[in-house]
Each structure stands twice: as C-alpha cells, then as structure tokens.
Symmetry: C2
Subunit: 372 residues, 2 copies
C-alpha cells in the first residue's frame, strides 16, 4: 500500500469517528448512514460498463434494540482496521474476528459470536466510508499464478516473471503495492483453469507471444481481479479472457469485466470493462471439429414443463444481463441453449496438445476474433 | 523429469506391452495383473512409517465381457503416456481423457464415455507397472506457495525464493525436476492455511528464522507432498507441520506423514514419516490462554445414543490409526474428544497478530515441543 492511500483511508475512518462523536455531543441518537446493498439498489452503469450501487441509503442507530449490536461491531472493526493501517500490518478477516472476539466487561455477552457476524459488518464499513477491504488492510485467500515478460517490484524484491520456470509467481491478496518496473508484453491472457496454464507454459506460449498469463483457477480472487485491472489501467495492455464455453466460464468473464451483484460497490476498482473473451465459443465447436468432445448442459431446457433449470437457466439468465445485451452475446448464449452443450478449454487437446498454443489462440488474437 | 527416470518408465510401459504381446502369440487370453487396492490390502509398514499395499493381486482379461472395456482402456492409456514421455510433454488427466476419447471404427461405441472411466484406469496403470502418474507425465491441479532461503533451478531458471516479496513461488504439479542449487534453511515449516502464511511472511518469519515456508492451502496437492518429501530426502531438513488443532488439520498431517488409504501405493514417494507436528495442540488452549477462542467440535460425542458423529467420530477413528499409536497422540485425540473443542491457527491472533511469529513458533521449535 502506498502511504498516500493509507492516509486517505485513515482520514475516512477518523471522519466516521468524528461524525459519531459530534452526534453524541449534540445529544443525537448516534448513527451511521450506509448505501443499501440489495439488488434493488444495484445498477448497471452503461458509460463505465460496470455494476454500481444506486443512491438508496439506510441508517443504523446505536439506540435501537435491533441495531445496537451491529453498531457496536461497526465501531470495533473501524477502530481495529485503523490500528492495522497505522501498524503497517494486514490481517485476514478470520484474524480480525479473533482479534475482536471478547466478552464485554460486566455483560455475559461476546462482542462477536462467530465470523458470520463480523464479515457482513466489514462490508458495511467498506460501503459506508467507500474504502475496499484491501484499503482497510484486510485480506482474503491467495489464489492463482502469473507468468510472462514483466518485472514486478514486491516488498523491495524485483521479480522477473519470465524467469520462474513452470512454477510462476503466486498472486497474493493485495497487489496495489506492486510496482511494474518494466515489461515487454503485448497483452494479458487470463485463463480459467490451472491445467490450461500448465499447457501454455509448457509450450512456451508466454515467451513466444510476449503474453502475461494469469491463472484464475476458477472464479478469480479479489487479488487477481485487482491485478488484471492494474495491468489495464497502469500499462494499458489489452486483456483477453480464456474460459470454458459454459455458463460458469462466461460468468467468470462477466465478473472480471462488469463486477458482481453482491459486491457492486467494488466494481470500479476490481472490474475491467475493457476485457474481451477470446474463447471458448459455441462457434469453435464447428470451426475446430469439436462435436465429439462437447458435454451436455446440465438441467432442463426452456421448452420443458416447469421451465429451464441449472445450466440452461444460468445461460438464459445471462442473456438478460445488460452487459451481455450486445447481439454477439445474445447469439452466443442462445446458441448454447439451442445446442444444449458446453465445450471445455481442454477439449482442444482432442486436436493435439500443442494446438491451443500454436494455432487456436494466436489465430484468434491475430484476427481480433473476440466476444465483447 | 530427469531423462534417467523417463527411460525407466518407458521400459516399464514397454515391458507391459511385450508381456501382452507374448500372451497373444502363445494363444493365451491376454491379461494384466495388478495389486488389489481395497482397504483389505492396505497395510501400515511400521519400519518405514507409511501405508503400503499388501501382496494381493487380481487379473484383468481381454476375453472377459466384464473386463474387455477396461483392458482396452488400460492399453490406450499406456500407449498415450508412453508418447507423452517420449515427446517430453505432460498432460492433465482431463487432457488425457480428451486425447483418447473417440468412436471406435465400425462400432457405435466411444473409447471413453467420461473422465470417470479414465481416472481409475490411470491408477490401475500406476499400480500395475509401479510408476506414479507424475512419472507417466500426467499432472493434477497446481496449488500452494513457497517462501524462504533456498535457490531452486526450474526449467533452467534460477529462482531465489527469498526474493519473491509477499507473492511467493507457485508450486506446480511436478517438482521432481526441481534442482536445489543452494539453501540456507534450518527447517521447513508446512502450514495449513494461506492466511497464516501471509501472517508469517508479513512478520519476516522466513528471513529471521531461516525457514522454508510451504503453504498447503488445505489438503496438500501431490506436488506439495512430493516437494516436502524432496526437502527431507535430498536436503535432510527437519519438517515441521503447523495445522489447525482439529480432526481435519490432524488428517492433513497424517496424509503428509504416512499417506492415505486410497493411495497407499504412492506413500513411499509422497509421504514423509520424519515430519513432526508443531501445533495447534489441545495443550495450547491452556498454555496460551485460548479458552475464549475455541470452537465447538461438530457432531455428537461418544456417550450419546447412536455413538459419535462427524468431528468426534473422525477424532476417535484417528485414535485407531497405527501411526497415531504413540501415547502422546492417544492423549491428544482423547483430550480433543473430552474437551469437545477445536482450536484454529488464526486463533493465536487473539493474543496479538505477531504472537505466532515472535513467540509461539520459535519457542516450540527451540524446545522441540512436537507431536511425533
């Protein structure tokens, strides 16, 4: 974390504290005001291309039997995170829970019963003062790996990510403090499965195509989402996403690109609207002769009694997303439902192991054959 | 993979092929003989300290309506893995499935219906010719991260793992080809949770204690298990395992140390009987004043009607493991059942964030306060 950002976050926390202090001094019922996070208050910002929170807010009062406990917890967490930032430490949300859990003197009551109590209050605090949990020095699980022609300064160490063999760099929860020293990359390839990344690294794809490869290993962590965003904003690199051709893979793309309903307030820092999908697409099945290696979609199609379920339902739900309104996506999702199949990245191995690295990806990227 | 090892594996595969060819030429019903993998044939080798397979074998015949399909699949997989080794490529078990899936000419029948068919046949082949899947160039998911005073040569790159910031080195599925160029480590600390590794790295534990830190992030992958084994055998480093104090954490330790029932044939290459557990222990709860931050075990205790369930049952099951016969483990597991609680690594944060790095671990390791 840069010192400047930490200062800003501390100011926000102190402002929250002063506000409550003023309320007390003026004899008001102490309260905080926070944005409503339910779906009714989530909007798609067409100009920015990301999900955001609307203007609805709600108040949480100290002198209210239904609010008092959560009010106390919000103050506790605000105070502890300020301490973390000042100490230059980070903590997991689990550690935060353990740090704050204690019996309130004079009462037979714990500050926190379990982590299910502290986690939502962290989100309350994030939205109230408009600071992400990473800015509050709270971290989530590490996940993913990175390969490619870029040198990153991390905690004073200069790491050349082209010299990490087939092991790669682990991607931590907080990456804002990464300094991109120099790079030689033409684009960033974000890949859903770890096995596909192994394949590409084994074929020297990152070296021969000057590509930074990021493995998300399923749904990307917050650290990965932020890192992709930083590659786009700081280095102006094109972002190509490579997932399985199925509702889950497209949802991963959707979250990387536009954000998620539940965490709409974070989209501006974690989402990359400039990203494009390079594959797998439904057209790939004919184009690359993959009919024999598709898999059936799970669930029931739209014409069955009771309507669509599982994969079919997810694909049709996505057709209604504003950011998939583009006709190419409408066609894509309809084609998936009509065919009733999914196609995995690794199905390209039915051509040959090296096919994905030597033909599929270079050709698609050369031709600009993307989904928006 | 060293060339020498690859040669050995190819010889084993060719021997299998020659054997079947001879059977055909001599008019026999072609068959292969493989060890029985059911629990009745799993033994604990007290001298080696690991689980191994016993002597029972079974035969799989080509001219047997119940065996023919699997026999064909075994031959297909043997042939394809030989090709992989010769090409110097690796493949995921998913890619292998896609590479081999095709319609048999003249029949309306696929070689493989789904991956559930190919995965067990891979294990059959591993046990039949006594070669691990990594030796067959088959890889599983990457997982975990590594930090510490060791320089590793990977694919020609020399990686100083003390200069990887808070990101760390990703641990790939195959690590046998790692060359340990030089190191300055006193021991290896294998840690269950990624968040605890973040804590230790943030406190510079690896630098101040000359420790190699390995994050397993839950149950360790095969790559992690093999890497820990290599640290022990090649570098003769002590291995200290640091898990949550609960049945799941102790099971992770058990698998690292002695292997697992299902994959008993791999123990000699993947298990490290020399490992010790540094924590969390049930005694830690009193010793470090953690009573307030324990969690209840899930399930019912042994004295309830119907007998123990869930966590209680797992703890009592482990008491029967031969490799937990040591009285210190017997006491430990009984204490867990009696107290009815579990204690997490991160609960140490209730003392202070730096407590685990500055006091808990160094004191325990200095005093040799381990479970065997």
């Amino acid at each position: 974390m840069e010192l400047e950002e930490d200062k800003e976050t501390i100011e926000k926390l102190e402002e929250l504290g002063r506000m409550v202090q003023n309320q007390i001094e003026e004899g008001e019922n102490p309260h905080i005001e926070k944005p409503v996070r339910s779906r009714s208050n989530v909007e798609y910002d067409e100009e920015e291309g990301v999900l955001t929170l609307g203007d609805s807010t709600s108040k949480r009062y100290f002198m209210n039997i239904g609010h008092a406990r959560k009010f106390m917890q919000t103050m506790l967490i605000a105070s502890k995170t300020k301490e973390l930032i000042q100490e230059g430490r980070t903590a997991s949300i689990r550690e935060l829970y353990y740090q704050l859990k204690h019996t309130i003197p004079g009462l037979d009551e714990n500050t926190l019963r379990d982590q299910d109590e502290s986690d939502p209050v962290i989100v309350d605090l994030e939205t109230t003062i408009n600071a992400l949990r990473e800015q509050l020095h709270l971290i989530t699980e590490r996940k993913g790996a990175l390969f490619g022609p870029i040198t990153i300064r991390d905690q004073g160490d200069e790491i050349n990510c082209l010299e990490l063999g087939k092991s790669g760099l682990g991607i931590p929860a907080i990456v804002d403090d990464y300094e991109f020293v120099e790079h030689d990359a033409d684009y960033v390839l974000v890949v859903e499965t770890g096995a596909m990344v192994n394949r590409l690294v084994e074929e020297d794809y990152h070296k021969e195509n000057d590509a930074i490869i990021v493995a998300t290993q399923g749904q990307p962590s917050r650290g990965i989402r932020r890192l992709v965003k930083l590659f786009q904003t700081r280095l102006d690199l094109p972002i190509y996403v490579f997932t399985d051709g199925d509702p889950w893979g497209y949802y991963i793309y959707s979250v990387l690109k536009a954000g998620s309903m539940n965490l709409a307030f974070e989209s501006s820092r974690l989402s990359t609207p400039e990203a494009n999908l390079v594959g797998m697409t439904m057209e790939d099945i004919n184009e690359y002769d993959l009919d024999n290696v598709t898999e059936q979609l799970k669930g029931k199609g739209p014409d069955t009694s009771g309507g669509p379920t599982k994969d079919f339902k997810r694909a049709l739900d996505m057709k209604d997303y504003d950011w998939f309104a583009d006709e190419r996506w409408q066609k894509q999702l309809q084609l998936m439902v009509d065919k009733g199949v999914r196609i995995e990245q690794q199905a390209l191995a039915s051509q040959s192991l090296e096919f994905v690295a030597n033909e599929y990806l270079p050709e698609k990227i050369e031709q600009g054959d993307f989904l928006p």
